[in-house]
Amino acid sequence: MIKKIYLVGNPNVGKSVVFSRLTGVQVISSNYPGTTVELSRGYLSMAGERIEVVDLPGTYSLEPTSGAEEVAVSLLKEYPKDEIAVVNIIDSTNLERNLLLTLQLIEEGFPTIACLNMCDDAVHRGVHIDIKKLEDILHIPVIPTCAVTGVGIKLLIDRIKEVAPTPRVKFLHEERWKEIGLIIGQVQYLEHRHHSIREALEDASVRPLTGLMIAGGVIYVSFKIVRFIGEILINKIADPIFINLYQPVLERLTFNWQETGFWFHLLIGDLINGKIDFRQSLGVLTTAPYIEFGMVLPYVISFYFMLSLLEDIGYLPRLAILLDNVLHRLGLHGYAIIPILLGFGCNVPGILSTRVLESKRERFIASTIISIGVPCVPLQAMIFGLLGQFGGFYVGGVYLVLFLLILVLGSILNRTLKGYSPEFLLEIPPYRFPPMHMLGQKLYFRIRGFLIEAIPVVLIGVAAINILIYFNLFNIVSGIFAPVVHGLFGLPQEAIVALIIGFLRKDVAVGMLIPLGLSAKQLFIAATLLAISFPCVATFIVMWKELGLKDLIKSTLMMIAVSLIVGATLNFAILR
């Protein structure tokens, strides 16, 4: 009787895609090893019964050599072997490497079914596998599938119940590889192919000269595309909806309200020249939705579109190779670029994915760098929206300061922390071109996640601010911090409110700066400080969970010190 189904396989063979197909539970999948850092669980209905399906982190072998692999292996041993079924997912384009784990699973007596995934890609690459012969040799069911299109999944489900332990002699690793060589010789036939354009590109992107040129091009073009899509969504969709549709309705509804009353203040905010100004009014029904839907959401969409595309194509590990040298000086290795890039979307998944790094030291450095030096999309969107009017110089300035900060901070941490930075060892996936519906699903999943998290916080946050302002409670707080904010950073006292709100949400915090009418210099300093200072509360909690209290405090103290130094330096030394 099968009670649990485990999805086991090498990193980056498409386990998460198979998982989504089996359970209907959407999880993020990408074309690089280590996308799944948390266990996903879901249910599959089989013969009227609900069976739990667990998507395990990728592992090359049952003898674990890293934390993620240990998790996978120990979970496999949680239940008696006759109560589980192991679905071993195999990358058909690289059968040889995948078979090591398959043989181990069979040898250990796990009831196993093999799923030869990405079979369409294998055909494209001229790899032909004799399924029948492989079944005969391994004595387990072997199903060819293509999880992204759903081919073979039904057959896989039908045959899961056939699994049974198959007796097999245990081997040493080296003998196992020899045996795999023999099996490959019998079941795999490679069509002779000329180098395709795809392979030429795969090759060029890992060579120093062409690789750097491609990286430069990819980063530049990505940035342009994010800007382009973001601007279009704002100017052609969001703004017209807010100004032509929403504003008249809102004005009609509140026509009779007392402009000085509490509710008007809370929901609509202040009128600017007798009219609602979505950027400045600061009401729960005006500025709050405008910040999220009119300024931030367009960029969230365009950023995640581009990131998801790069992820699925498989470009990111190649970027990791090229940046390995630089990141080594920060005590990290090339693969740390993945958490950092995710951090540019939102710091929370960025810090979660630092789990792909092996040592605690690396995770500490990476998390600290992300929370201090990497601005999330909502913050960036607001910086563009606000500082952009003073010219690209200021926007570029914020990025330059943050970039230098990452370099300096990383080098200092690398030199002062005990330990060393480990070397990386990484499999580079081939380029793949995902079907658009996969990209669409992932984008939808991420945007929904953003909205669910952001909207309640923004609404409650703006409401709380308005209540505090209405009853003049902020003056007490701002009085205490005035010497620092005014004296050191050159910002008006009212900016304190924004800096404090930054702990809740960065985008709202920048929004709070709009009505203050700051100069370009002041805005520049405030925006930079918001990027550096307190990570928002969600990031804070994740860091606590991932690093522990002690390291969180260390990281926080560093953040405070850095904020003070950078704020004061920008105010006194650089900008006159």
């Binding site: 090359y60 072998s61 003898e63 050599t65 890293s66 384009t93 690289n94 040889e96 490497r97 090591l100 790899v127 690793h173 080296e174 590889w177 795969e202 090759d203 890992v206 060579r207 120093p208 690789g211 590990p317 990791a320 190779i321 090229l322 390995d324 040298n325 080594h328 290795h333 090339g334 480990p422 070397e423 990386f424 060892l425 990484l426 499999e427 580079i428 081939p430």
Partner: protein
């Protein structure tokens, strides 16, 4: 026949692994990814002087940090 490490061998050259220096953990990590004694590997490229090395083993492309590459000793024809 000459012995040479993966860090030293020139790009686009092949060699057979004859020894992996370093601890058992590194050896088994490489073993699990298909790099073991007797296996033929091709070096594709080397990023910068102290940068990572990219190799082809079977149908996989692997990137190894410079320090690891220096520990993989090949026999070059």
């Amino acid at each position: 026949m000459k012995k040479i490490s993966l860090a030293q061998i020139r790009g686009n050259r092949k060699g057979k692994v004859i020894e992996i220096l370093g601890g058992i953990n590194l050896q088994s990590k490489l073993m699990n990814m298909g790099v073991y004694k007797g296996k033929e590997v091709t070096k594709l490229s080397h990023i910068g002087l102290q940068g990572p090395v990219v190799i082809k083993v079977g149908r996989s492309i692997l990137a190894l940090g410079h320090g690891i590459a220096a520990k993989v000793i090949l026999e070059q024809e």
